[in-house]
């Protein structure tokens, strides 16, 4: 079985994509062998519609029999509203962590406005997962999510597991993420991505060990049948692939097979 630590609920606008549908998401998970998927709602990330996201998270959790869980989305520009929903659902088993997207929130990951979410994660023993990416010549917002921008909070909150979504992104972002990961043992790496540099999974294993890497698809934007190739084609032992697909995330998120 597989745990997918980077999925999304909800449609994404911008390019032609499938209309979002929870039934379809469950079908996709079954097809690839994904037992649990951790989603962040695109409508919350892109439009701060927390109410809409709240309803769909509840539906997805119920319809999937607890298999589709969610990250609370924290927008540093909407601290009070974000915290309201986080507080409201802090004992709700549908929520498994906190998600940032500094690029979509146009706010650097080191900004002081993130502090309440790190405090919340510490108090409630929740991991934080964030979009991370390399500096981009075509998308300036990616600078807000550069792996090094998280160092300030990683130093202050060593007890909070932190997942670098996309492992820092592309090539230089990944190298930067790995350097941060070497300093901070609470840092984990997810393999979500669209264009994946050759040797990514092996590079992560060789540099941060086989216990800190999670399989991740970025569904419903990316196709999980594509992203599993990052692991299946990697020059790493089969036991390591099994760890990436299941054991590592199961240990961090406290999950077991049904």
């Amino acid at each position: 079985m597989i745990i997918d630590t980077h999925m999304h609920l909800g449609e994404i606008i911008g390019y032609c994509n499938y209309p979002f549908n929870i039934e379809k998401q469950i079908q996709v998970m079954d097809e690839v062998g994904i037992l649990y998927g951790f989603s962040a709602h695109n409508i919350a990330i892109g439009a701060d519609d927390f109410e809409y996201a709240e309803d769909e998270v509840a539906k997805a959790y119920e319809m999937s029999g607890g298999r589709i869980m969610a990250f609370h989305f924290f927008d540093p520009r909407e601290t009070d509203r974000s915290l309201y929903f986080m507080e409201k659902h802090k004992k709700d088993p549908a929520y498994i962590g906190i998600k940032f997207h500094p690029s979509m929130s146009y706010t650097d990951a080191a900004d002081e406005r993130y502090r309440p979410s790190w405090e919340f994660a510490k108090e409630n023993k929740l991991p934080i997962m964030s979009h991370t990416w390399d500096l981009s010549l075509t998308n300036f917002k990616q600078k807000y999510s550069h792996p090094t921008a998280f160092v300030k909070y990683l130093e202050e909150y060593p007890e909070v597991p932190f997942i670098m979504g996309h492992s820092g992104g592309r090539y230089n972002g990944v190298r930067a993420a790995v350097e941060v990961g070497k300093r901070f043992p609470q840092v984990y790496f997810d393999l979500a991505g669209d264009l994946v540099a050759a040797g990514l999974a092996k590079y992560l294993v060789d540099n941060v060990g086989d216990r800190r890497i999670f399989y991740a698809s970025d569904y419903c934007m990316m196709d999980p049948r594509t992203t599993i190739g990052t692991v299946l084609g990697a020059d790493i032992p089969m036991e390591t692939k099994e760890r990436i697909f299941w054991d590592n995330a199961a240990e961090v998120f406290g999950l077991s097979e049904k």
Binding site: Y18, L195, I228, T230
Partner: protein, 270 residues
């Protein structure tokens, strides 16, 4: 033991044998430094890709893009082996000092060595795609029955459409390169449907269910398997086709059949 992971691994390995992939977008680039491990040597790179792309490769030399097209193309032809399905794609630039009979002589020599396609990089090499500037290339491509490969970020979709209209007998393959072609799926879906001479390399087609959608909307015959190795991870391109919900026949068309059809007779002057 995680049985479903074991099964996925077996499916992946079986697919490599079953679908016989031909990589239409393979790069040989021993000078590449932006990578996690040292770049494989020129022969080693071909050996590595042939383990997963058993039907062959269409190869370009990275130095043609980063050093000089002439130097890279020269390094490319040394490695071609048409008898073993190792073919080449040249990068060319419209230089008035090197046109006319001299250029045709060059193309004649290159095609005899196994070159079967041309690539244009109009942004990188600062030129237009107009017939005034590149007309000689279009004539060569048509007369040698070779496809033109071009990235969507090296021109515009309007530029690609204009080429399709102006040169209906020239086969054009869009290569996503290192850019997110997925953001442009509204454009390429419409254009692939509209133009018989337009095709797309599959390595950037990673949107959920995209391979299925494209097969339904434009037909599997418009998709050409490409990995963008040695830069990118070829297994991703393989699983996107091998695990897609399309027929076995469609998978084989995309994996190698369309490439063979596009390259049938390529490099031989009409």
């Amino acid at each position: 033991m995680n049985k479903s992971v074991q099964m996925l691994q077996e499916r992946y390995e079986e697919a490599i044998k079953q679908y016989n992939f031909f990589d239409f977008n393979f790069w040989n680039d021993p000078l590449d430094i932006e990578r996690f491990y040292p770049a494989p040597g020129k022969f080693e790179a071909i050996e590595q890709i042939r383990k997963v792309c058993t039907a062959g490769v269409l190869m370009t030399n990275g130095a043609s893009k980063t050093v000089d097209p002439g130097i890279g193309n020269g390094r490319l032809v040394e490695l071609l082996n048409p008898a073993d399905n190792v073919f080449g794609a040249l990068i060319v630039t419209p230089d008035p000092q090197f046109s006319g009979p001299a250029f045709e002589e060059y193309i004649d020599k290159m095609t005899k060595a196994g070159v079967v396609a041309l690539r244009l990089y109009p942004k990188r090499f600062y030129h237009s795609l107009s017939d005034t500037v590149c007309g000689e290339f279009y004539e060569i491509l048509e007369s040698y029955n070779m496809p033109l490969i071009i990235s969507h970020v090296e021109t515009s979709w309007d530029g690609i459409e204009s080429l399709c209209k102006r040169h209906p007998n020239m086969k054009i393959v869009v290569d996503g390169g290192d850019a997110k072609i997925l953001y442009h799926n509204r454009d390429y879906m419409a254009m692939l449907k509209a133009y018989d001479n337009l095709f797309v390399d599959t390595h950037g087609l990673v949107v959920y269910d995209e391979i299925e959608d494209l097969c339904k909307i434009v037909g599997a015959e418009k998709l050409v398997f490409g990995s963008y190795a040695v830069y990118n991870e070829p297994a991703i391109s393989i699983t996107s086709i091998a695990f897609a919900h399309i027929s076995e026949e469609e998978k084989k068309l995309i994996a190698h059949g369309n490439a063979f059809r596009l390259l049938d007779g390529a490099g031989k002057k009409k």
